[in-house]
Amino acid sequence: MAETYSLEQFTKENLFKSLSNKYCDEEEMARNDRAIFLFGYLTAIGAKTFVVEYDYTDGDYLEDFTSYYARCFKDYRRRCKRLHFFGKDFDEARFKAFITKPPDELFDELSESYLGFVVARPLPSAVVGRTILKTYPSDSSRRQYTVIRSYDANLFGVPLTIESLAFQEQDTVLAACATVALWSAFQKTSSLFIGTPSPRPAEITRIANGVTAASRAIPSHGLDVRQMVHAIRSMRLEPELIWARPEVPLVSAAYGYLQMGLPVILGIQIEGRGLHALTLTGYSLKKTQVNQQEVASGESSIRMVGLRIDEFYAHDDQIGPFARIKVKPSAQTYPVEFEGEWKDEQTGKILRLYPDFLLVPVYNKIRVTFIDVARYLALLKGLLSVMSLMPDEYEWDLRLTMTNNLKSKIKEENFPPNDLERILLSQQPRFIWRATLRFYGKPFLELFTDATDMERSFPICEQVWYDNEFKETFKARLKDPHLATMAIEGLGKRFYDFLIK
């Protein structure tokens, strides 16, 4: 019987050898940025041993193969290798027992140490195919990987599970970076919104090119924003597109959608290179402020939770999965800037990444946007700053959530008891923008906005005050004729009526 697998100790040499193929040898793999990144990443998450599964049929690659590679003159293989990583040292005998014997202590030990897999495609470049790897630990909830889902892998009959988001590098034949960013995003939306599809890269490129194809679809050298938007609509989702204008609190906007587990595609200008797309999968939220502001210098914005985010995690098909994107302050043109692992090939200098847009595939019933709600928060902040001695240490935490998640969450928090019961026992919209106003880290007020409504109908549906005495006095003063007229003029009648209710 031909060899069907090999067992390898996790070392750089063994990894590069196992990823290599007849078109891309070990030496070339050792210079491949994705392979180098994977070695570092797997080392950090504790890889000790890996199993190479030969002749693995990968659905994504198979579609690429039948769409393109099978029709090339060169004899590309249709099967891949799949490398399974474990956080334990084990030998051949233990592995055989793991595969062949009924579940026991060893089975549990190895299953629990499973770190995920990398599909190695038999191609001259773009070797890193579908990759599903465990995330870094949460570091006391600082790291939040919200855009992950459950994946099943089967290794010679052993079912293994991993929480992650699929990654792969572009082959610039059937998929460039925009296609790959969409592919990762649809992996998550298909699990979040049951019934929405998760097509393979070749299919995404074909769908996207259903509109305004300026050049040939395949080989693909990229998509324009309109084509990305079209691909999202074709998945029965709606594209939420936010232009990274200097005045938009971009970090908080991305966070607002990521909190619900929605993938956020970030379009970035790479210094001296061009426009690139990556999929944000999470963020690092610090306990205290790390950025002075998240809009361009000279612009102003309400203070939001984005000031505590020091980095995002992104699937960057030219770097690797869960790659760090550090948030940096910006001068005039951009709300913020980013720094990742992009380097100048000649000098090794880290390149600046300038945000261009955020693109979020949302369910069609999510109609009210982050910016729609942020305007009400700005109005209320204005009112509070006139009516009270408001400290500078405040923060609006605006994030999208689903009713059931919200109800579970508020039960775990120190939510005002009367409001807790009222909200738990009442019907709420399926999607809600939850805005929490905090002073010195302590919650003061919550506003819930019906995300399924429309901005013009005044969609804020709940207000919850943590200080009942303040609430009563505030409402009484707001009714004072001296203030009422000005407040109605400044806030609008509907917002005013809601606040005094």
Binding site: K134, T436, F444
Partner: protein, 70 residues
């Protein structure tokens, strides 16, 4: 290996949980002390800020035509 739910926090508010047991309150100013001029100028500043913020939602041909190709 699945990350147990209790370890996989999906809420950005978790880091604040420890601080939620104590309460903070704002001090309200006397209504009479708030002048019309002060109120109007504050809300006008807010309106300007909102107008700029909303530009982030204005999608133009220029944006749609951008090619992502790196």
């Amino acid at each position: 290996m699945p990350i147990p739910d209790e370890k996989r926090s999906n809420s950005g508010t978790d880091v604040n949980d420890a601080t939620q047991n104590s309460k903070f309150s704002l001090t309200l100013r006397d209504t009479e002390a708030i002048t019309e001029g002060e109120f109007r100028s504050t809300m006008q500043e807010v309106a300007k800020q909102i107008a700029k913020l909303e530009e982030g939602q204005v999608i133009t041909e220029e944006l749609l035509k951008k090619v992502i190709s790196v």
